[in-house]
């Protein structure tokens, strides 16, 4: 039972990581009805940037926000250069373009940093603390705290500031927002920037657990897909809840069923949700215009 609770806590920690990446997917889905297949690779690239900054002697807690700012700028740049010219293309073209982007970013990271896995410094000690018989590592608590804080900031930004309001308005009613004087195109860019920054959090949090290499996020993105689909792909709250559920499920399955089938659990969740409840836990039924 004690082991179960320990797995539960570390599952919530990994779930928080999945949730951040899933939230990044949801932000872009809401902005333009597109799943960004490059989200994981962009996060991986940002993590490499953080790695370089730390390698130059910067402390983790300075490198972390600096990387988020860089990721934010990078997200905006990607939207301006790659996505904006094809905004009106059919969704299949857009998916192929984001896949191309994923391949490109992956290759660039391999080009700059190589494919040898590197260990990424963790800002938290690996000791554990005894909480009523359950050993919880500082690392897990740190990850939960950081991702929780980032999600809270994002929530406050989206729901309680004017920028957040315009952002949501531009995503839901582009035409009406444009008439009201919102720069819809720049709001989309802002959405890409935010998504990129939130995704970078997941990369930086997961890198100490896995090893840092260009293919690091390839499995994480599958769990993030599962989380986003489970929560209902347009719901930010759903992404967080979905992320936590996927994190705990995968952790438990890894311990009790089979370690090498963890990734298959992600696939199983995606397919089960899409077949049984395509709108996810918090999504609304899609109304199709003919």
């Amino acid at each position: 039972m004690q082991e179960f609770f320990q797995l539960l806590v570390s599952g919530i920690a990994t779930g928080g990581i999945f949730a951040s990446l899933a939230l990044a997917l949801v932000l872009i889905y809401n902005a333009m009805g597109l799943v960004n297949f490059a989200q994981g690779e962009m996060a991986m690239f940002a993590t490499f940037l953080a790695y370089s900054l730390i390698g130059r002697g910067m402390s983790f807690w300075i490198a972390f926000p600096v990387t988020l700012v860089l990721a934010f700028a990078g997200g905006i740049a990607v939207q301006r250069v790659v996505i904006k010219p094809v905004e009106r293309a059919p969704v299949l073209s857009l998916v192929i373009i984001t896949l191309g982007l994923a391949t490109l970013v992956n290759g660039l990271a391999g080009f700059v940093w190589g494919y040898v896995p590197r260990s990424f410094p963790s800002p938290f000690s690996s000791d554990s603390i005894d909480l009523a018989g359950v050993f919880v590592s500082y690392r897990d608590m740190g990850v939960i705290a950081v991702t929780g804080l980032v999600l809270l900031c994002l929530y406050l930004l989206l729901q309680h500031t004017t920028v957040g309001l315009t952002l949501r308005a531009a995503a839901h009613h582009p035409e009406a927002s444009r008439l009201l004087g919102v720069h819809v195109s720049w709001m989309l860019a802002l959405g890409w920037g935010l998504a990129s920054a939130v995704g970078a959090v997941s990369g930086i949090m997961v890198a100490p657990i896995l090893l840092l290499e260009p293919n690091m996020m390839q499995t994480i993105i599958i769990y993030a897909f599962a989380a986003a689909v489970l929560g209902g792909i347009e719901s930010p709250l759903g992404a967080v809840v979905g992320g936590l559920i996927v994190g705990v499920t995968v952790n438990l399955a890894g311990a009790y069923v089979a370690g090498d089938l963890q990734l298959a659990v992600g696939l199983a969740i995606i397919i089960a949700v899409l077949v049984l409840k395509p709108n996810g836990l918090f999504g609304r039924a899609a109304v199709r215009r003919v």
Binding site: L34, V91, T103, F111, D260, A264, I270
Partner: protein
């Protein structure tokens, strides 16, 4: 005879291509023939993807997984049950096709975006799924596939033409070429007859197609089945050609490579997959040979290009093609041909009713 004389020039292009491919192993080394054989297996798989994406408008990012299925069915039959390889090719193709058909049923309920997501997940997960039943699939070690000797009739004919004995690589090349020609011919017939028309109608407007009496669900699942049939054949031949398969033979990047080939060549066209396959197969090989041969490029960059080069160039090519030439090489050639015709014939062309180029397919 009259029909021959009036045949449009593209038929002569087909004849020329077939002759070139038939003659290729007689003038090159056995190794080059085997490389081209592998490019042709990619062409088969890309044709399958083309039928699914180009004609029926459903996106699959997991065709590498279907290739793996076909390859493993063939390899297991050969390795454990000592079935002749040629017999296993249709078995693998049909079995993979059935699996694809079944996969197409839940896929019906998914929007294109979700389908892309699910198939991408399938592609990422499939290597670890293959490793699992280790005694059947050989786990991480994979399965060796013995190379068949050419049968006497083929060996004699080859000897008569070139004066050298036929190697098994050359024999496999001809097996692959035969399958490619057959499957491309089938795809051509499929595309211009009822199923192809129905699929394109679904792609361009599902509701309109249903209102016109097209069985939308039936043709969408059929497209999935046919597409998987092609991928299964390709996988089976691919395994035979390289002589060894393991879970790492079918990584996610293979699925991406297939997509690159389909997009580059031109979706919803018959020559497109062939051109795309040649591009997608030879780009990394040629760049790996070209870059080290350039002395002005530092050694350190050479070694990273070897690993990262294909990914970077595939990514750039995918993005640029989707942005500027959504119908790929074939689309560019067609547009060029139409423009050239207009230029040569002048204004009179307007009366001949030259059809506008095909609409953008994705």
């Amino acid at each position: 005879m009259n029909r021959l004389r009036t045949a449009p020039p593209r038929y002569w292009l087909v004849v020329l291509a077939v002759v070139l491919f038939l003659g290729l192993p007689t003038v090159t080394s056995s190794f080059v023939a085997s490389e081209w054989g592998q490019a042709l297996t990619l062409a088969i798989a890309i044709m399958g993807l083309n039928i699914l994406v180009g004609y029926s408008g459903q996106l699959s990012l997991g065709h590498g997984a279907f290739m793996a299925l076909g390859a493993y069915i063939s390899a297991i039959l050969v390795h454990r049950y000592h079935v002749d390889f040629l017999v296993t090719i249709p078995i693998a193709a049909v079995a993979t096709g059935l699996v694809g058909f079944l996969f197409g049923v839940p896929a019906l309920r998914l929007s294109p975006l979700y389908l892309a997501l699910a198939t991408f997940a399938l592609a990422v997960v499939s290597p670890s799924l293959i490793k699992r039943p280790a005694e059947l699939t050989g786990g991480v070690q994979g399965i060796l596939i013995p190379q068949p000797d050419p049968p006497p009739f083929a060996g004699d004919a080859f000897n008569a033409v070139t004066g050298t004995a036929m190697t098994s690589d050359q024999w496999i090349y001809y097996v692959i070429l035969f399958c490619t020609l057959l499957l491309f011919w089938l795809a051509w017939n499929l595309g211009r007859r009822r199923p192809g028309r129905a699929m394109r109608a679904i792609r361009d407007g599902e509701v309109a197609a249903a209102a016109s009496g097209v069985n939308v669900a039936g043709f969408k699942t059929l497209a999935f089945g046919i597409s998987a049939f092609y991928a299964g054949t390709a996988g089976s031949l691919f395994g035979l050609s390289i002589g060894f398969i393991s879970p790492d033979t079918f990584p996610v990047s293979l699925s991406i490579q297939l997509l690159v080939g389909a997009v580059i060549g031109g979706l919803a066209s018959i020559p497109g997959p062939l051109l795309g396959a040649i591009f997608a197969y030879f780009l990394p090989i040629e760049s790996n040979q070209w870059v080290p041969s350039q002395t002005w490029i530092p050694d350190q960059i050479t070694s990273t290009v070897k690993n990262a080069g294909p990914a970077v160039s595939y990514g750039v090519v995918l993005i640029l093609v989707m942005m500027f030439a959504p119908n790929g090489i074939v689309g560019l050639v067609k547009a060029g041909y139409v423009a050239l015709n207009r230029r040569l014939r002048g204004a009179a062309d307007r009366e001949t009713g030259q059809l506008p180029p095909d609409p953008q397919t994705v």
